[in-house]
């Protein structure tokens, strides 16, 4: 006898097969195919009907993606629109109005509209709630004028929309004075400049906002509730960064293991010992990631994703450092310092020196490992916060 889950999976398989019979992936233009897939509810089956989904369990999505891939169907280039899929979409789904969901989710999923994240500022990194970008409502109440500087914005140069967190009330304590918006990146006053990083390239941007007009209709969540909405985005970010199902040796450990197998002449007992520890740690982390996804299949991401992100960062750093040392004298060469503008980060296709340098960012971006440890200590273990002087006074009175 089939369980309800198996029945649902079976029905879904038939539905995808029927869809493919009516929409030939080989002859239909790519965008037409993606539109049709979205409208058939097969984009993300755990989303509601009418918004690209069928209201089914999240766990069923992987099989759908695999079925489309097996049929040679075009995909929505998920690596390029990772922020949209991983952060913007769940936030809009949780806090957006029906109009916003209908306006934003379809072009987000098809990749026609790229999203970026306008959160961090030069003066607000770990202390994100202290941010200073100011949004002032106009007299009619229809528009907000936003001024400030955002930083570490990947894909801002290609983005149509930004997830904007701005200060709407400086007279209340910092967490209470924030509001969340969808910001049109194509309007006047938005200036995007590349931010070169220590690898030589510029994955990220600085975004300067000068009296940028944002429609009140593009506000996500209530005025003053921006912090709450931003939490949903950040939890999803950590799951996105730490997650992803991989086969054994599927991540950076695969590169290190391959190097070891290919170069017997470079092997030393010390490096062997380190590699075995890393291999075991990477495999256990992979199992822990699988377990986390099983636990999340029914529910929403919680602070547990923070653990995956810390482990992922540490492993990437240790593995890339190991690999660079194993490379020996060749590790003294670097492949390319030129200022390129990659659309997505990949540790593959570059040399071990690049991997070593890029991995340093893994424990900083998306919440430093230190901030994540605070989150685990406070939200999972229930430990008290450090005594704080910044949470009860109006934001405008804080020293900065």
């Amino acid at each position: 006898m089939l369980t309800p889950d198996q029945t649902a999976a079976d029905d879904l398989r038939k539905r995808v097969r029927a869809f493919l019979a009516e929409h030939d992936p080989a002859s239909l233009p790519r965008l037409d195919f993606l539109h049709a897939r979205f409208d058939a509810g097969l984009a993300w089956v755990h989303y509601p009907e009418g918004l690209g989904g069928l209201g089914l369990p999240r766990a069923l999505q992987a099989a759908v993606d695999a079925q489309f891939a097996a049929a040679g169907a075009p995909d929505n280039d998920p690596a390029r629109i990772g922020i949209g899929l991983g952060m913007a979409a769940p936030t809009i789904l949780a806090y957006g109005t029906q109009e916003q969901k209908e306006r934003w989710l379809r072009p987000l999923w098809t990749g026609e509209e790229v999203w970026c994240q306008l959160f961090s500022e030069p003066g607000a990194g770990s202390d994100l709630a202290g941010l200073a970008a100011r949004a002032v409502r106009d007299e009619e109440g229809e528009r907000w004028l936003v001024s400030g500087q955002k930083v570490w914005t990947s894909m801002a140069h290609a983005a149509r929309w930004g997830l904007l967190l701005a200060r709407t009330d400086p007279d209340v304590p910092k967490h209470a004075g924030l509001t969340y918006f969808g910001c049109d990146m194509t309007v006047p006053g938005v200036e995007v400049r590349p931010l070169r990083q220590l690898t030589g390239e510029a994955e990220f941007n600085e975004v300067f906002l000068s009296d940028v007009a944002v429609r009140d209709a593009d506000r996500i969540g209530a005025v003053g509730e921006g912090w709450k909405v931003a939490q949903a985005t950040l939890m999803n970010e950590r799951v996105a960064i730490g997650g992803g199902a991989l086969p054994r040796e599927g991540g950076m450990i695969g590169l290190a293991a391959a190097a070891w197998r290919d170069h017997p002449e470079r092997r030393t007992p010390g490096l062997h010992d380190q590699l075995l520890r890393l291999w075991a740690d990477a495999e256990v982390a992979r199992l822990a990631g699988a377990r986390l996804r099983q636990l999340l299949a029914a529910g929403q991401p919680g602070p547990e994703g923070s653990a995956a992100k810390i482990v992922f960062a540490r492993l990437n750093q240790e593995l890339s450092a190991w690999e660079l040392e194993f490379t020996g004298a060749d590790g003294l060469r670097y492949d390319d310092w030129s200022l390129s503008r990659p659309e997505s980060v990949s540790f593959f296709g570059r040399g071990p020196g690049y991997r070593y340098l890029r991995a340093r960012g893994n424990s900083i971006e998306g919440g430093t490992s230190e901030i994540l440890r605070n989150i685990i200590a406070e939200r999972v273990l229930g430990l008290p916060t450090e005594p704080r002087t910044d949470t009860k006074v109006p934001w405008k009175d804080l020293p900065r």
């Binding site: 086969p247 197998r261 092997r267 075995l276 495999e283 685990i376 999972v380 005594p387």
Partner: protein
């Protein structure tokens, strides 16, 4: 129980799909009753008091666990009076014996000795299931499980000697010694692997002539070891040759996997106890748990426990289905859980400060159980060395 990996190829999981690494509702229920019983009948002051007596085990607690809760017969088929459960459930009980540092012979009798007998279906299983009898496989607790049945049927400390006139059929006379056997002090029957032609696995009554048992002053006094000397002791033959080797092998692999789960329970108890303490303990007019220096260390312990849990569940799931990946899974789990337990216990002592260094506080019970358990059935380093072979990562100086 061997896995071969070709050079240059990542070892793939044989069955392809990831088993469920969560706990089922039934498993959580089982955990609840075992934890309740041990908290009620074997709280740590009782454990502490017992280690200073000459009677190492707590027969009343064991009887309740074995018969009232049916833990002794968990792995034994229903037609032998057992519960016919799998290693998944057995692992949950092991976690709880670790959580309580319970002085019960669950690991030695209900896991190791039972697993050694399951293949031959020996009649002793009926008595074990009922909780009337406890048994111990006489292999040093510190021994790394061998990789093959042939490896298990190798010369040990006990030899088969000449029969005496009038000895019944299917018996052997055994002489020799085995040092450092766990759960032997409370066992009624010893399962003795004996070198000879044929190699035999024999059941020797603890009270039989020619059996001498010497308690060992053990690092972990809650699971004291014993040295055993056999002088022409009469044993009933349970199995011979390959079948005997397979029994020993099954016992030791099950022991290593379930000991990993026990270590997970130890780690969880250390974490729970320490978190509770740092919330209460005040210095500098605030709970010490509000200092980031301590919070970050506890967050790291939580992360390590979270990772180890995935490895332990994977090993139990593989063992339950006889998955071809079992040797990798058990080595990973034993390495990860051993290190997690030792780290958690060391942090437990440190973060308790002075009180954690006293005899009166239970932290040392956990520390000693953690360190002993990490050495028993193979240290983390030994298991990682075993992984090198299985993962196709040969040591330095070896080509290919």
């Amino acid at each position: 129980m061997t896995t071969t990996a070709k050079r240059g190829a990542a070892p793939a999981r044989a069955s392809g799909s990831m088993p469920d690494l969560r706990y089922t509702e039934a498993e959580e229920e089982l955990r609840g009753v075992v934890r309740g019983l041990l908290a009620d009948r074997s709280p740590w002051p009782a454990v502490l008091a017992r280690i200073e007596t000459s009677e190492p085990g707590d027969p009343a607690v064991w009887r309740a666990m074995a018969t009232e809760l049916g833990c002794a017969g968990l792995l034994i088929p229903e037609d032998r009076g057992g519960a016919g459960a799998s290693y998944r459930e057995a692992a949950v009980v092991a976690e709880e014996t670790g959580y309580a540092v319970a002085p019960v012979p669950y690991l030695g009798s209900s896991v190791v000795a039972t697993a050694a007998l399951l293949g031959s279906g020996d009649d002793l299983l009926t008595g074990l299931a009922a909780g009337d009898v406890t048994a111990a496989l006489t292999v040093p607790f510190g021994q790394l499980p061998p990789r093959t049945a042939q490896g298990a049927a190798r010369p040990g400390g006990v030899r088969v000697v000449l029969h005496e006139p009038g000895d019944p059929p299917r018996t052997m006379r055994l002489s020799g010694q085995v040092l450092g056997v766990a759960d032997a002090l409370t066992a009624d029957v010893y399962l003795v692997p004996a070198d000879g032609r044929p190699f035999g696995l024999c059941a020797v009554d603890a009270a039989a002539d020619g059996v001498t048992l010497a308690p060992v002053t053990s690092l972990d006094a809650t699971r004291p070891l014993a040295d055993l000397v056999f002088d022409k002791a009469l044993g009933r033959v349970v199995a011979v040759n390959e079948e005997a080797g397979a029994g020993v092998l099954a016992g030791l692999w099950a022991g290593a996997a379930m000991l990993a789960s026990e270590q997970l329970g130890v780690a969880q108890r250390c974490l729970d106890m320490t978190v509770a303490y740092v919330k209460e303990r005040h210095q500098f007019a605030r709970p010490v748990g509000s200092f980031q220096a301590l919070k970050h260390r506890l967050a790291d312990v939580w992360i390590e426990v979270t990772q180890a849990r995935a490895a332990a569940r994977y090993a139990a799931a593989c063992l339950a289905t006889g998955d071809a990946d079992t040797p990798v899974a058990v080595a990973l789990a034993k390495a990860a859980c051993g290190e997690a337990a030792v780290h958690a216990a060391e942090e437990c002592v440190q973060l308790h400060g002075g009180i954690g260094f006293t005899w009166e506080h239970p932290a040392h019970l956990l520390l000693k159980r953690a360190k002993s358990g990490s050495i028993a059935f193979g240290t983390p380093g030994q298991h990682r060395t075993a992984l090198a072979r299985m993962a196709g990562l040969p040591p330095a100086g070896q080509g290919g």
